[in-house]
């Protein structure tokens, strides 16, 4: 069973953490993954930086720009990940925009993912229809799940279709807005969480966008299988030592921090 599905089956209150590969330093990738997997984190999303990340807010765009300036690219990322499976069994997802993957070659990219032990991909600008028609068989061949996004604007009919194509989790965008941390969810968002939950989908839901603290994490996990944190973690990395990642994770989990 794919590591992502195993976690989705076995765990509740899942915490998935996103970071941009190559940020803040080019060679941070392995260390950040190991640090995260030593904390109370259930999945890691590795961001492959892109020059024009349409679906991301300023924090992630800035980290992407820095990562690109540091020299991050697909080849480098796969190199950095080549021994990762000797060190951790945490589910790993690569999140990236479609153009760099297209230039690498979709088949070749998937093959490399399989070789280093990536479990799935999130490609925000690859629409589900195109995926199903042109690329699904490639992902399947290499044992990769592809995760899709839904938003408050996504129609029920379309959600049903996405649920049908999806084999991993559905990434539920918490609001209209693009990524960025907020303090709490409003009534409209809660209504939307309820609507989706009443649809009885086969896929598990993780809520992302706007989760930054214990309160929003709890709100999210009350309404789904778990939550995804990106911008808030990038901000943390910008201002803190990687050794203190556990403190960030504990603050999200609502645990008091103990250094050991």
């Amino acid at each position: 069973m794919n590591r992502i599905n195993k976690v989705l089956e076995e765990k509740k209150d899942i915490l998935s953490i996103y970071f941009t590969a190559g940020f803040p330093k080019i060679d941070n990738t392995e260390e950040i993954i190991i640090q995260l997997s030593n904390c109370d984190v259930d999945m890691v999303e590795i961001g492959l930086p892109f020059s024009d990340p349409l679906a991301d807010g300023p924090t992630i765009q800035e980290s992407s720009t820095i990562a690109l300036n540091n020299g991050m690219n697909s080849i480098k990322l796969f190199e950095q990940l080549k021994d990762i499976r000797k060190k951790t069994n945490i589910p790993l997802i690569i999140m990236g925009y479609f153009n760099p993957i297209l230039q690498f070659g979709v088949e070749e990219f998937c093959k490399n993912c399989q070789t280093v032990g990536i479990d799935g991909l999130i490609i925000p600008d690859l629409p589900v229809e195109v995926y199903e028609k042109e690329y699904k068989h490639v992902f399947d061949k290499h044992g990769l799940l592809n995760m899709f996004l839904i938003t408050p604007q996504t129609s029920n009919e379309r959600i049903q279709f996405i649920d049908k194509v999806s084999k991993g989790f559905i990434y539920m965008v918490s609001s209209f807005s693009i990524t960025g941390a907020v303090n709490s969810f409003n009534e409209n968002q809660k209504k939307y969480f309820k609507r989706i939950n009443s649809m009885d989908l086969k896929s598990k839901l993780l809520i992302g966008f706007g989760i930054s603290n214990n309160k929003t994490f709890l709100d999210a996990t009350r309404n789904s299988r778990g939550a995804i944190i990106g911008s808030a973690f990038i901000k943390f990395l910008k201002n803190n030592n990687k050794e203190n990642i556990v403190e960030f994770i504990n603050s999200i989990r609502g645990k008091s921090s103990s250094k050991n």
């Binding site: 230039q103 629409p127 965008v173």
Partner: protein, 395 residues
């Protein structure tokens, strides 16, 4: 197999086009896709659109026989005078169409991106005309170098928001506009300024601009007794003025199509915007097309002396014209374009936009027959470029 160079029912031109968009844009794009053709075919829409084009924009624009130019190059040269449109370029044909569409979609807020500021001015203009809130995204660097157009937009009541991300130019302004739309999916319409972006934008913008080519057909028939010139010629950045001129001729192979791109300081200089030569197939702003990018698929910053041509991609219609060889592509360097700014001024008394100057430079690159009829899209006037002309020629 589709036997047309126009868009197919799935939003593709050959292998280019489509809608590679994040889910957050899906409902907006779907709404447009399902409604734009129906709305634009309604009689009340057509009536309002045509009346505004006539009384407000000043259409039809003349098809002018350039006699001195024709004599010099020993061929028959006509200029489609889009430079005489209100606001100084063809851009307003599209913004009029889109604002009418936005109103019918019940939208109360307009956003747009702009590079040199021409599309921003054309958008701010129609928003003022309709009394609708208008926000223009413009790269911080472009705001610095296009002060008069920034002032125009402000006079017209628009808010100009600087794009401070990435390279702080047109592509980043486009990213910011898309983000705004993602954050405001219900009340906002995004007026894209060229035949780029996800389907249905390239087709929608081409339809609104097709008034250019349609007028040429009837005007040429009166002047020459034929609807078909031998060549239609236009400069291509994103490609909207070219798409408008070519539109009725796309599938008429008796009429040859010439696209002129900006070579900047030279194709091999690293400072160029000649997408057909330097670009590779990829995804930019939601469309599969040719774009300038690094080996890793990062979008690179183009360069041209004319801000309207320095877009790293090209519309999917043009990518298909290039790939299928239906269109002949040339690229013109800054210096050649600047010289043609002077040439056209002195031969015909028309000071062209630097974008437009690129198209005319083809006359020094290619031999034409005496009997050939050439129609150039004289897409914009040079007022906005005076500072650049002054600097360059030490006027």
């Amino acid at each position: 197999m589709n036997n047309t160079y126009n868009v197919d029912q799935n939003g593709y031109y050959g292998e280019f086009g489509g809608a590679y968009i994040p889910e957050m844009m899906h409902s907006n794009i779907e709404e447009l896709k399902s409604k734009y053709i129906k709305i634009c075919s309604e009689n009340s829409f057509k009536k309002e659109f045509n009346e505004l084009l006539k009384d407000y924009v000043g259409r039809p624009t003349p098809l002018y026989f350039a006699s001195r130019l024709s004599e010099k190059y020993n061929t028959k040269i006509y200029l489609k005078r889009e430079d005489l449109c209100h606001t100084g370029a063809h851009k307003i044909n599209n913004t009029i169409g889109q604002i009418l569409l936005a109103k019918r979609l019940g939208k109360t807020r307009i956003i747009a991106e702009t590079g040199a500021g021409q599309h921003g001015v054309a958008t701010a203009t129609v928003c003022a005309l309709m009394g609708i809130e208008c926000i223009i995204y413009m790269g911080e660097i472009d705001i610095g170098r296009q002060a008069p157009n920034v002032a125009r937009m402000k006079m017209l009541g628009a808010e100009v928001r600087p794009a401070t991300s990435g390279s702080k130019t047109l592509k980043d302004a486009t990213n910011e506009a898309i983000r705004d739309w993602i954050n405001n999916p219900i009340d906002t319409h995004y007026i894209i300024g060229s035949v780029v972006g996800p389907h249905p934008y390239p087709d929608m913008v081409a339809r609104f601009q097709s008034v250019i080519g349609n007028e040429v057909m009837s005007q040429l028939e009166t002047l020459e007794g034929t609807k078909n010139p031998n060549y239609v010629i236009a400069c291509v950045g994103g490609g909207s003025n070219a798409a408008g001129l070519f539109y009725p001729y796309l599938d008429n192979k008796k009429v040859k199509i010439i696209c002129v791109e900006a070579a900047g300081k030279g194709i091999k200089s690293g400072k160029s915007a000649a997408t057909s030569i330097l670009g590779k197939e990829g995804i930019i702003h939601g469309a599969k097309t040719l774009l300038m990018q690094s080996k890793d698929g990062q979008i690179t910053e183009p360069y041209s002396i004319s801000a309207g041509l320095d877009y790293p991609g090209v519309g999917p219609m043009h990518a298909n014209l290039f790939r299928s060889k239906r269109g002949e592509f040339h690229s013109i360097e800054d210096s050649e374009a600047m010289d043609w700014g002077l040439n056209l001024s002195r031969l015909e008394g028309i000071i062209p936009a630097i974008e437009t100057s690129h198209a005319f430079a083809i006359l020094d690159k290619k031999e034409f027959q005496k009997s050939d009829i050439l129609v150039f899209n004289c897409s914009g006037r040079g007022d906005k470029d005076l500072d650049t002309y002054i600097d360059y020629f030490k006027l």
